[in-house]
């Protein structure tokens, strides 16, 4: 039969392909890194510097999406989320040790701040939080029910009002105005950046690290750190599994000065104080910088603001007729 030869060729090819795949798997340890959407470019660099005969499989997407995926079975050895409540979900699912935050840095491997990303020339002269809610200004930030970055953005906005000595009620009213000026609800911080870069909106609320990446890629944008802004702290942990020891070694290495330097070179604020001092020029301090602790800590903030039915944000979105589901 004429088809016998092609079938034979197919089988030979198949065995070759599977043989090479199998052999590759047996040689090295393979760690899977599951992270939020922002450190997509920095992890390959960290992994290359780490070496040690370990191969890595990476996946980056919105923080809450990733956290739920890992809880649903996505194989992960190392996780780096945007907010600690996404880590708590895995602790509750018995996938991450409850002492994950017990090192010197409380489990936070890198920091950032919430910034305004603006188009070159800043045609609408946006400088302050109040400028965001001026008539005709379109603000881009992701969906708070899937993106950790969006939650940092919203709480930065809220906290900035408190810093201006406004009351909680006034701050909530400001949030409502902010949502009225929001023009898109991307799933993740990185998606929001891509939306902004493709021409939508006048200002993007984003991580400083993401903004720095966009600039280094030559995009026609710049960023501005508002006077009052929120310090972003991204948690990192090893996941209980067959590769836990190897994962823990990698996690510990990510705090060493060598690794922290790579974080800093790629736009993330290092947590190691000596490295931080060296890179002070790239990461200016802000006079009215505040942390999530100032606002009550993530567990309490999450419940008050981001509960999908009764949270402040859910109520705002319902009153504006926008979808609330994350």
């Amino acid at each position: 039969m004429k088809l016998r030869r092609p079938v034979l060729a197919l089988l030979v090819l198949a065995s070759l392909v599977s043989a090479t795949s199998a052999s590759a798997a047996k040689q090295d340890t393979s760690l899977s890194v599951v992270g939020y959407s922002i450190p997509t470019s920095v992890f390959p660099k960290l992994e290359a510097a780490y070496g040690n005969g370990v191969t890595f499989a990476n996946s980056f997407a919105a923080s809450e999406v990733q956290s739920k995926a890992v809880a649903a079975g996505l194989p992960a050895d190392v996780v780096n989320f945007s907010i600690t409540t996404d880590m708590d979900r895995l602790v509750n699912a018995k996938l991450v040790d409850k002492n994950w935050a017990s090192n010197r840095y409380h489990g936070i491997v890198s920091k950032s701040v919430v910034v305004f990303v603006l188009r070159n020339g800043n045609p609408k002269h946006i400088k302050t939080w109040d400028d965001l809610v001026k008539p005709g200004v379109q603000v881009v930030f992701p969906n708070p029910f899937s993106s950790g970055g969006a939650r940092w953005d919203v709480m930065a906005a809220y906290g900035s009002q408190l810093r201006e000595h406004k009351t909680a009620a006034q701050a909530k009213a400001y949030l409502k105005q902010l949502f009225q000026h929001n023009v898109s609800q991307d799933t993740s911080g990185r998606n929001a950046l891509n939306t902004f870069l493709s021409g939508k909106g006048d200002v993007l609320l984003d991580y400083e690290s993401d903004a720095k990446l966009a600039q280094s890629q030559g995009k026609p944008v710049f960023y501005l750190i508002p006077k009052a802004t929120l310090q972003i702290e991204t948690p990192l942990a090893a996941v209980d599994g067959s590769n836990k020891a190897e994962a823990k070694t990698f996690v510990n290495w990510l705090y060493t000065p060598a690794a922290q330097r790579i974080w800093a070179e790629n736009g993330f604020r290092p947590v190691d104080p000596t490295v931080a001092k060296r890179y002070k020029a790239q990461f200016p301090p802000r006079p009215q910088l505040f942390t999530i602790g100032y606002l009550g800590g993530w567990p309490r903030v999450d419940k008050t603001f981001f509960d999908p039915t009764n949270g402040v944000v859910a109520k705002i979105e319902q009153s504006l007729g926008v979808s609330t589901g994350g």
Partner: protein, 264 residues
């Protein structure tokens, strides 16, 4: 005469704008900065692995769906069981169904809380977020092609020769090997080409079930999306060129087979 030219040039212009121009642009953008960056983009480990995984899944899926396609085609046309008409409709369903729905179905079955997921997980067998899940998704969406090519041919050739063989004492398998299969071999070959193309290009269902771990469970189509979203335009276009090249190869094979069938 004007009408004729209007139809010709109008339709060709439409084709150019919607189809040809975009594909030409892919090649242009991939090689815009020269062959060096293109080669770097497709030889990085994640891209190589994505290509290998895609080919691996295809090499498993195509033979399975081909065997099923032939069996099912025979069953539908030479049916004994009533309700084969319904079977015919179900076989066609993957063509009309959104790939995301397919992925969701597999997620519901093989997720940790799924019908089979918990059981399989307890026995150390992971389906979702691993290669078996990708294979199952690809089997679903590429299921119809061989069946649909085989069925009309089987209908057309009728059963005379097969009946004659049976009266001469040939077994079912001999009848199949000597009479049925030679008659449908071009249909099978054509169906195999279509199935292969569909496997290589699958994206929606795989996006749901694979987890997209670069270097482990990320197929080439997902690599295109991930590169694009990570400002790696050259990488995205380079991988697209690979896929587009395979697509054009598929088109050539399809054209050759159409001619081959006509001549045989």
């Amino acid at each position: 005469m004007i009408g004729k030219h209007a139809v010709r040039y109008g339709s060709l212009l439409y084709l150019a704008a919607i189809l040809i121009a975009p594909v030409v642009l892919v090649f242009y953008r991939a090689f815009e900065h020269g062959p060096g960056p293109f080669w770097d983009a497709i030889s990085n480990p994640a891209a190589v692995h994505a290509l290998r995984l895609t080919l691996y899944v295809t090499l498993i899926t195509v033979p399975l769906n081909t065997a099923f396609g032939i069996l099912c085609g025979i069953a539908i046309v030479r049916h004994r069981i009533p309700g084969m008409g319904l079977v015919n409709a179900i076989v066609d369903l993957p063509l009309a169904l959104s790939p995301v729905v397919v992925g969701l179905a597999l997620y519901l079955l093989y997720g940790n809380d799924g019908w089979f997921g918990g059981f399989l997980h307890d026995h150390g067998f992971r389906v979702l977020f691993a290669t078996p899940g990708i294979v199952l998704a690809t089997l679903f969406i590429s299921l119809p092609f061989v069946v649909r090519e085989v069925v009309p041919v089987l209908r057309e050739i009728g059963t005379d020769q097969e009946e004659a063989a049976a009266t001469l004492g040939a077994s079912a398998f001999t009848t199949f090997r000597r009479i049925t299969f030679p008659a449908i071999r071009w249909a099978v070959a054509y169906g195999v080409v279509l199935t292969t193309a569909r496997c290589l290009g699958e994206f929606g269902a795989v996006s749901v079930v694979s987890g997209g771990l670069a270097g482990r469970t990320q197929v080439l189509t997902q690599y295109v999306q991930a590169s694009y979203e990570n400002f790696d335009q050259t990488g995205a276009y380079a991988a697209s060129v690979l896929l587009a090249g395979l697509a054009i190869l598929t088109l050539l094979l399809m054209t050759v087979m159409k001619r081959g069938d006509r001549s045989s």
